[in-house]
């Protein structure tokens, strides 16, 4: 290698800066400037509610750290390798009118050994912290709070399975919410992520397989934790500790059919005291109707037989006869923390959105599993009123 560079005719080294060079240099500057502007634009982009670079707790914080660590190393390799290629390209490019035959070099074993070992060392350096973090992330602390996360096509359900989180109106029933998971600040939480459906637990009571069917989803709240897949009949764990109060966005990351894009959820982190109040509210049954319209809505909900079926076939409303499974639990549908519904695509406070949903779920969310019951305006108003009363 060294020989070959020495053997280059000496004249080549002196560079004449011709027109082509200037143009090239200028265009490089322009490119760099454009890149810079774009980057600045990216930073001033403002709100990025799913930014992995803006963690709000563990392990997102730690994961950001290791990502930056490996990115820095990658950047170093990048600069070395790409810089080398660009340098060689410029330095040894053919120049007009200078015929020369490069020295025919076939290889150099010492170099080969070098550039086999060097990357291996770099990689070992990267993988050691990576492996240790694989194990630390897999650890399940004994004192954590437990929530089971279930993926449905296309929304998320949450069950608070710790014994002190059972509801008051039924035995051994956990607090169950949909679309929004509420957790206390600073508490370590152990999520059991799975898909709804599948075999309940081995063969059913009479050996019958569970007809419930569900596909694979993946649970991810970028500012709080990385993803784990929600696989039927399997349970994965995510252990996380929120470090900020507020609302954090997340969404299903594994392709799961038509509305994969809109299978979202929110995590509301409350101060511990506020969380305790929330728990107390959630333990209670649904509120009783106190207006005629609401009462009518409840009646429709419980007894209405529509084209296509009944509400209670799929929905549960705690403390009432509605105990369906497969659809979201609506007991505290209108609670302040239940910010959004139907895969968090609609704001709960937006009653018009609820009405549009009731009119034809498929029109606002193509493929939604809830059928169109062909409700009339009067029925829709009553049902909406009832649901909005379920604080």
């Amino acid at each position: 290698m060294i020989e070959s560079s020495r053997s280059r005719p000496t004249g080549v080294r002196r560079r004449r800066i011709g027109r082509g060079r200037v143009v090239r240099r200028r265009s490089l500057w322009v490119l760099a400037l454009v890149a810079l502007t774009l980057l600045l634009a990216a930073c001033s982009n403002g709100d990025l509610p799913q930014d992995t670079f803006d963690p709000a707790g563990q392990p997102a914080q730690e994961q950001k750290g290791i990502l930056i660590f490996v990115l820095v190393i990658a950047a170093l390799v990048f600069v070395l390798v790409e810089g080398g290629i660009v340098f060689i390209s410029l330095r040894y490019r053919h120049r007009k009118g200078q015929e020369r035959m490069p020295k025919q070099i076939h290889g150099n074993t010492r170099l080969e050994v070098g550039w086999t070992i060097a990357p291996a060392v770099v990689l070992a350096f990267v993988m050691v912290p990576a492996i240790s973090m694989i194990w630390s992330l897999a650890a399940q602390p004994p004192d954590a709070m437990h929530i089971t996360v279930k993926g449905y096509q296309w929304w998320w359900g949450f069950e608070y399975t710790d014994p002190d989180m059972n509801v008051s109106y039924a035995e051994n029933e956990p607090i169950t919410t949909a679309d929004v998971m509420v957790v206390p600040l600073g508490r370590t939480i152990d999520l059991s992520v799975t898909a709804a459906g599948g075999l309940v637990s081995g063969p059913g009571p009479d050996g019958e397989p569970n007809p419930d069917f569900e596909v694979i989803h993946s649970f991810w709240a970028p500012r709080l934790f990385g993803k784990q897949d929600a696989v039927p009949n399997r349970t994965n764990h995510i252990v996380f500790t929120p470090a900020e109060t507020g609302t954090f966005l997340g969404q299903c990351a594994e392709f799961c059919g038509l509305q994969h894009a809109r299978m979202k959820f929110r995590i509301v982190v409350l101060e511990p005291a506020a969380f305790q109040r929330w728990v107390a509210e959630q333990k209670g049954p649904a509120v009783e109707p106190d207006q005629e319209l609401i009462d009518h809505g409840m009646d429709l909900f419980m007894n209405g037989e529509f084209e296509g079926g009944q509400c209670i076939a799929c929905h549960t409303i705690g403390g009432t006869e509605a105990a369906g499974a497969g659809g979201p639990d609506l007991t505290h549908y209108a609670a302040p923390t239940h910010e959004c519904f139907a895969g968090c695509n609609f704001e709960t406070r937006d009653v018009e959105a609820l009405k549009a949903w009731l009119r034809d779920p498929n029109a606002v969310k193509l493929g939604a599993k809830m059928p169109n019951y062909h409700l009339n305006d009067e029925q829709i108003d009553a049902l909406a009123a009832y649901l909005m009363s379920l604080t």
Binding site: Q104, I105, H106, N108
Partner: protein, 119 residues
């Protein structure tokens, strides 16, 4: 530098599968009918032993071990004699073995990942 590399190539060419001498090496003889029949009898015997084993009521672990042993033996006998790998050019065996080894390794790992052998 370049010199030595060329030598390397020469050597690789000669030892490698382009060896001209090997190309005209005489075909090793396939076994005779008698030998085939002998192998056939051993195979039949082993199969009989397998069936007997499965009725014999030996302990599960032992049963599986012995069955695996006879299975592999039968497999080897057919491949080596009936398919002539024992008599043919070793390169055929190499290709086949790569496939076999790959299959064994990959699928064993898959089964391990599912925890099939955990009990």
């Amino acid at each position: 530098m370049g010199q030595r590399l060329d030598e390397f190539h020469e050597e690789a060419g000669e030892r490698g599968i382009a060896d001209p001498r090997e190309a005209h090496a005489p075909h090793k003889q396939h076994p005779s009918a008698k030998e085939y029949i002998r192998i056939g009898i051993i195979l039949a015997f082993l199969t009989g032993f397998e069936v007997w084993l499965s009725y014999s009521g030996v302990r599960d672990g032992l049963l599986v071990g012995l069955l695996m042993l006879t299975m592999v033996t039968k497999f080897a006998l057919v491949v080596l004699w009936f398919m002539h790998l024992r008599f043919d050019d070793p390169r055929y065996s190499r290709f086949f073995l790569v496939g076999l080894a790959l299959a064994a390794c990959l699928y064993l790992i898959v089964l391990l990942l599912f925890g099939v052998f955990q009990d």
